[in-house]
Symmetry: C2
Subunit: 554 residues, 2 copies
């Protein structure tokens, strides 16, 4: 596909929808993949656990794939890695903290031993045949984030990663502003930059602000404090630790991912927790309530996470009392609003004090606002631009921002999954696409759930099913015993007695009306049963349950 001196940029995992990131850059010799995220399904995808990018194209060319580079450790950038590596086993390059989170994931999938993990930092330089790759540090809501710079035969391609500009960052962990300026100065052919907050005007507030508000809330609290945030937001976890230290509280961690991620962060030097501050939940009752801070998972309202279980009194051994303070130090991701507000309601019902959301200064976004995005564009001065990581209206607004700071009209590409931008003679074109689809992950046994199964689940979920059992003589094709109809998820069987009596009569009639000559086939009979029963049921109930005829020949 790629001519000798041509570079192609592939949108594989979510250029067009937040939460499933994967891009690839291909030249004559190599393919380098950037990120491999998963997306969590909405409620319409019944029973689906994860959605990951389609990697068919990469699998077909797997000899050519040289590296998977990860910009940071959020699920929407690392969640697909185990599934990817099972099919395309290449070295994974990431920074130290990001690698820690990837290792947790690979351990869970029993893939750690066979994977080659290579630690990089923002000063690393990698060479893949004719491509050289370097990095720059960016600020985001998780430590150790990078942007990626590809020096290709066509020119420089920059991938921003997820970023904001935080000029008062935690741990003085500044982004590589000067390096970014130098890259831009030397000339960028194509910039890919994230678009999450392209609709929000102004500059994104600093994480520092949240620290002040957490501190104030801790100083006012009288009973226990329960505070929930994303486990991976180690900056915010550090601010909770600092506030607990200041107010002389011990720290209890609740929730598996909180425990795991804090472990990684302490061990690798990204989190500073005073000795003896962490205590086990089993000993917390030995201390007075004003000495306790519980840091827990579940800030998105996940029904099985610690926060939700605390709100309904279902967390064994830990009880929320009326004088306690609950802090949600996170904003709801779009789609999670209802689950989150339900939990807030439940805490109010317990009589607790609840402080929630960015309105109370308990959350700032990790994604840059319009002024941040314009600063990135201005620093990089790209000839061509691809807004990534956002829904269509965000990409659209990001394009307008790019044009406002000097990117030429027509030089911005809004891509869908599978779209390819080809660079030749330093000219970019988007004229082709490769076929891609989402891959649904469900349980552990069978990985790719097909459309047929999804259709069946939808029908079953809305209207239930009717199993019609008939026992028939092989020779005469006559009913041996009365038909039997069983319903599940349709209507209450007691209420439905009359309907089921009618169905059984109809089945009898359908069978006795059957043409039992040579043209007869069992399939025709089943089809006929499905049709006549379906029509009768719809006429009486306006419902379309799945109808499953079971024919036993004796």
């Amino acid at each position: 596909m790629t001519a000798r001196n041509e570079i192609s940029v592939f949108a594989l995992g979510g250029l067009h929808e937040i939460g499933k990131n994967m891009y690839a850059i291909e030249d004559a010799n190599s393919i380098i993949v950037i990120d491999c995220g998963n997306k969590f399904p909405d409620e319409s995808l019944l029973g689906i656990d994860l959605i990951i990018p389609d990697i068919n194209y990469l699998e077909e060319k797997k000899e050519k794939v040289k590296a998977l580079i990860i910009t940071h450790g959020h699920e929407d950038h690392i969640g697909g890695i185990p599934f990817f590596l099972k099919k395309v086993n290449v070295p994974v390059y990431a920074t130290r903290f990001t690698l820690g989170l990837i290792e947790l994931k690979l351990t869970e999938h029993k893939l750690l031993r066979e994977t080659q993990l290579i630690e990089i930092d923002s000063k690393s330089e990698l060479n893949f045949d004719e491509m050289t790759v370097e990095f720059f540090k960016v600020n985001h809501s998780i430590p150790d984030c990078i942007g990626v710079v590809f020096h290709t035969s066509q020119g420089v391609i920059v991938h921003s990663g997820d970023f904001k500009f935080d000029l008062t960052p935690m741990n003085n962990d500044h982004s590589d502003l000067h390096k970014m300026a130098k890259i831009g100065e030397e000339g960028v052919l194509l910039l890919l930059s994230e678009s999450t907050n392209a609709e929000r005007s102004g500059a994104s507030p600093s994480e520092e602000m949240v620290g002040h508000n957490i501190e104030a809330a801790f100083k006012h609290a009288t009973g226990k404090i329960f505070i929930s945030t994303f486990a991976s937001n180690i900056y915010r976890v550090q601010q909770v630790v600092d506030a607990a230290k200041l107010t002389n509280r011990k720290l209890v961690l609740l929730g598996r991912s909180m425990v795991n991620v804090v472990d990684v962060a302490i061990e690798r030097g990204y989190l500073n927790v005073p000795e003896n501050m962490l205590i086990d939940q089993h000993v917390m009752d030995e201390l007075p309530p004003e000495r306790i801070c519980v840091l827990c998972t579940g800030s998105q309202g996940e029904p099985m996470a610690a926060l939700a279980r605390l709100s309904t009194g279902n967390f064994r051994g830990v009880t929320v009392l009326p004088e306690d303070t609950i802090i949600l130090a996170a904003g709801p991701i779009p789609g999670n609003e209802k689950n989150v507000t339900q939990i807030i309601d439940q805490f109010y019902e317990l009589g607790a004090k609840v402080i929630y959301g960015s309105g109370k200064g308990m959350h700032v976004s990790g994604h840059g606002y319009q002024e941040d995005l314009k600063l990135m564009l201005t620093l990089m001065k790209p000839k061509y631009f691809i807004p990534i990581h956002g829904e269509y209206r965000m990409l659209h607004h990001h394009r307008l921002l790019a044009e406002s700071v000097g990117v030429e009209k027509g030089h911005t590409f809004l891509l869908k999954n599978g779209d390819v931008v080809d660079l030749e003679n330093a000219i970019a074109n988007q004229t082709r696409s490769i076929p891609v689809d989402s891959t649904y992950i469900d349980g552990i046994g069978f990985e790719d759930v097909g459309d047929l199964i999804m259709r069946d689940r939808k029908q079953l979920s809305e209207d239930g099913m009717l199993v019609v059992v008939i026992t028939i003589s092989k020779r005469e094709r006559k009913l041996i015993s009365p038909p039997d109809t069983i319903s599940r998820g349709f209507v209450d069987q007691r209420e439905a007695n009359e309907l089921i009596r009618k169905i059984n009569q109809l089945v009898k009639k359908t069978i006795s009306d059957l043409d039992t000559t040579d043209k007869f086939s069992w399939n025709t009979m089943k089809q006929k049963l499905r049709k006549t029963v379906g029509q009768q049921v719809f006429a009486e109930t306006r419902k379309k349950p799945m109808i499953l005829p079971i024919v036993i020949e004796v």
Copy 2:
């Protein structure tokens, strides 16, 4: 239940959750019901169409129920009426416009002829034995809204209806501020007041503001204009009509409810549309695009409504072009955000200009903010207070507002469905509840869908099902033919061949291991099959499909 001189106030339909309103006031002789709304289910209620209040208590006492009074015509106040009237057929009292919407609904349910509909206005006075009822006009996002005043033997009880204070209302349709002041002056024992916006500070903006912004957008638009709002918000429809008139555009109505409600509004004098302004969609192509305004349903992102179909190019005969302007003159109701933003994305993909939401001044809430709520409380000066119509945190904040304007601590009751407040010797107490549940409406045939069915649907929807068919000899209890397993919505049958082979083997073994002595029963056998197959399936797939053993005796 009610002693001679006692009054009881019942929370029956949604004191604790937005969108399903029903309250009842009972004295020794009468029960008066206020509102009968429905609620639309969220996606976790698989296949359910509507949720309505539980009317068992009222049905048991139906001889005592004298009236159903409706405060206004929104679905969450009238949607349950047909289901209620089928069981408790009492006269329905409502204002002229509200009655028009109720008539539409009763016609659909073929109940119009047997229902006694009685038109009232804000000056009406009704007498039910020892209770006298009067009304006051309030502003809201639909015309002809009222609050209700009950003069009882215990004192005055006021129900606010849904309201805001709009001092520059459309059509000069002011609320009865002076009458409300007089009622408060004479003394209110108990106020029930709505809480939707109890968390929003300040005063709610006037509907007038939206009119200015619609006008400005119409003046800027070049191609066709598509504007979507709630059909029942006749004030906003009037502002669209006015802007269309000003910019010389004809009006096309799309969507059944838009056509029906606009019909009612014109016919009853609530909407003023210039002659010849309304045209049929079939002739719109004969006019230049800048002469066309399409007013349509679907502002909440409903997948089958006009706006969604326009956004995907699936509305027969009407096409959105790049130069067209789309206006969403409505805010998303919590839970609908995702559907709405998806439609916005789709219009951007078509290249259209999109103006959406309250951020652009295209929507104001019909529910009063904190200052509005405090004004109602201050006017009424109630001794006791019940915040209604809101989730728990909103009721909680409304209580704080009440206390801030002088309601005594301990005099506010936060109720759940079924909770009862008893008034005796002018003292209010909440000590008892009646059993209530939600009633799920599904299709037309079977009205009350039980928990068992919902559980079945959930299991079917997430993990599908396995039907295990065995044919067994009556006498020897031995398999006559090999077992057969059929899966639906579980895993792809081709992929699952190996698993199904194992299941069939397991079934054979389970049957042959069965104790066929006297203790044997078919139920035990089915249970045993369910258990062994379930364990095997879970071990291999981590899924728990419904397992339905079907045993045929021959």
